[in-house]
Symmetry: C3
Subunit: 352 residues, 3 copies
Amino acid sequence: MACTLQEIAAALGGDLLAEGPVRIEKLASLGAAGPHDLSFVAQARAVPQIATTQAAALIVAPAWAEAAGARGPCIVTPDPYLYFARLTQWWRARRDVLEQGKANAEPTGAPPSIHPLASVDPGAHLAPGVRIAAFAVVEAGAQVGAGTQVGAHAVIERHAIVGEDCRIAPRVVVGRDCQLGDRCILHAGVVIGADGFGFAPHEGAWVKIEQLGAVRIGHDVEIGANTCIDRGALEDTVLEDGVKLDNLIQIGHNVHIGRHTAMAGCVGVAGSARIGAHCTVGGGAVVLGHLTLADGVHISAASVVMRSILQPGQYSGVFPIDDNKNWEKNAATLRQLYRLRERIKTLENKTP
Amino acid sequence: MACTLQEIAAALGGDLLAEGPVRIEKLASLGAAGPHDLSFVAQARAVPQIATTQAAALIVAPAWAEAAGARGPCIVTPDPYLYFARLTQWWRARRDVLEQGKANAEPTGAPPSIHPLASVDPGAHLAPGVRIAAFAVVEAGAQVGAGTQVGAHAVIERHAIVGEDCRIAPRVVVGRDCQLGDRCILHAGVVIGADGFGFAPHEGAWVKIEQLGAVRIGHDVEIGANTCIDRGALEDTVLEDGVKLDNLIQIGHNVHIGRHTAMAGCVGVAGSARIGAHCTVGGGAVVLGHLTLADGVHISAASVVMRSILQPGQYSGVFPIDDNKNWEKNAATLRQLYRLRERIKTLENKTP
Amino acid sequence: MACTLQEIAAALGGDLLAEGPVRIEKLASLGAAGPHDLSFVAQARAVPQIATTQAAALIVAPAWAEAAGARGPCIVTPDPYLYFARLTQWWRARRDVLEQGKANAEPTGAPPSIHPLASVDPGAHLAPGVRIAAFAVVEAGAQVGAGTQVGAHAVIERHAIVGEDCRIAPRVVVGRDCQLGDRCILHAGVVIGADGFGFAPHEGAWVKIEQLGAVRIGHDVEIGANTCIDRGALEDTVLEDGVKLDNLIQIGHNVHIGRHTAMAGCVGVAGSARIGAHCTVGGGAVVLGHLTLADGVHISAASVVMRSILQPGQYSGVFPIDDNKNWEKNAATLRQLYRLRERIKTLENKTP
């Protein structure tokens, strides 16, 4: 996997400050980098590490080019974190080519490659370059776009549509009638299109509302391991382009998530919530059903959204952690808070 | 899939107010319905939409029959939401028959249908009408009841018992010795009967307590995608008839959940909790171990139950969300709340 | 499965107080035990049940030996809960031998047993005694240690290393390059090595940071159903020896968890958090990213760790649950708490 700093700069740009070829064996963080590793400086607080890191070379912003250049080779670029992101993509693509050899070098129009132990219905449509792994299932009427990889034990149910160049990890389910755009990444265990949670109460029991909608997912969406996106009751659940969801997230039926919104792990979004574009939701947060979040709303981790939020901004609601004894005393007092306010009022009325 | 309003009323009842046949192409919500769609009015707040919806026909309660009848065809029924639930079931069953043709029309006593790529142990017992999908596994001693569908990659482990007319979605695991009643629906990724979390501490490490109980699930239980129900340590974990669990829920070992209790997504119930019948637990709520909840207890979303609740009612405990600056100030003050109370006491003692 | 109390004491030790052989049909809790069951007394609060339990025999500490002996047979041991844990292991091993007969009696050096419907790459290395179930996938370059069982639909990706005597349940994914030590137990649906959640923001969208690290897991680690451990961005995510994780837990990229730390269900740990040894994290708790928890820190269920905790101890932060009306009043007041403090200050200044 080793390469030179020169090859990287040739592929990804940036100003290269180096005398002679610099061998790079891997990418590493500043603290962990060894003498053959390439690292990057993305935040001001990391600047002191420029002097101490063992890295062979650094990716830095212009402001830190002098300091970085003084210690050794570097690539100067306006946004080192973005450069690093693209570098990881370049690195991975290169690794895949090295590993898979001809497989990736096949002409784009190659016929689909289906593992002999996969189960692909003759009524499914696979575009050129599709690869179907062992024990995957593609049902009748399903469509898989060019260049998409379908992992082991994945299930693409009837009439589902998967776009081009998607990575479907092992044991993902894409439910019947659901749609994915191009370049989506679904990690292991993702369930797209399980039934939304809908019941009519009747004589003390629950009568199932069959969920007749589907899930529509745009381009460039990434969905983390074991995350679930329920199908809509009548209309569809929708994730717009560029949405990024981490692991173990629950998206209820008929939720709508706007473009480029990102959510960290363990978030729960209840049915029919409408979340704007360019929002972020911190890990473990909960958004109740039928609420609206405007574009650009940022919810802190573990906060619970109980009302619509129509102005962009950062919102929080978490009980501060404390040592257990203090918490117990404060929590007990909190249960009388309303009465404390009354007592303050009384005092105010008595005090001239 | 199109049908007429007349066919629906013939199948499901209700008072039909319509002159001549009304073609229905799909079911839709009031706001989304087009001129060939059937919609319903289940809540008073939706009544103003009766005048504006484009729907071909409406399902309404008697109180709104006049308004609905004035604009066009309708079905009048005492509980429109219940009617709608049954309509979705009728619609889905009709769709399945249309799609699968003869498969559903087979006589009830048809032999089990096993996909050639499934793995069914000769020592498993499959009742008539069972369908086993590709790559499913049914182990020795397992029993699957008449009419039950076992999805792709599902695993029915040894000595597990699955009742009649169940829908087991792709990659569900029903662990050894576990039991499901009739008409249960298990969505993709459900794990029934993983080990409960039990260890004895010993010299700073944890010694595993093998979990020797199982899981017993009643009739008409529905369990959402990637939800986990752990097996009991010695006795069984129990879900009674009609329990409905949403996605990504964790039910610890030896929990007992009473009839017709429903839980929304991401709930966690710790070991040996005993939850009554007809309870509801909102999304993301947590119930600690060894607690008792009476029948008819309703826990709000994201609330944490830290003590037994023996009276029916609605219970809540969530830090209210606020803009981040306000939250920070209030949260910081909260850490001194006990001392604030002391200060109020002091003031009260000083004030005549 | 029946045995005698004498056989148990012979295998596991303890002082046996019994006249003649005592037949034991199963293990049971004190309250549920019938006249052929063995139970145990691990806590002082259970002592009154010694007089009332129907159990055939009891495992007790020396302090309760007299009371237990007065009612019937017992085994006396310093730590009955630990004894019980070992007894469950003995019981399970015995059950497996009875069920599987010769399979478990094979010599240690037996060749790997591969189900004919599994997919094992010729470039994978399986040690003696490995068992691979139906529809499992082991990719090129993967290694599986002696005596390890790989369940149905499990996927061991390329270059992954699984130690000896592990139990890999159905549909576990061990991602490429990830490592497991010996005697690990992974329950159904576990995902080891999905991508960490990393993106660089760029012009309102997110640019993926390919995750080039892996996951390294020590010996004797147990991981619950549907739990996810993400691979590191550059360096590895690490779980040290003896870590125990319950179901539906999310461990972000580059997290480090110290020896013998245990976490209950539904916990979320964000990226790069560093959690010490011998910690416990209660169910549903959230640990934010880049924090440090010292050894011996105990986080109560559903608490949110928003800052590093450098002293051992118990920490909590949960809004106390209350009936909904009280909660509403107190929560509304909480949003003005800072101003209440100001009002108290004002009163204090006015009061002599």
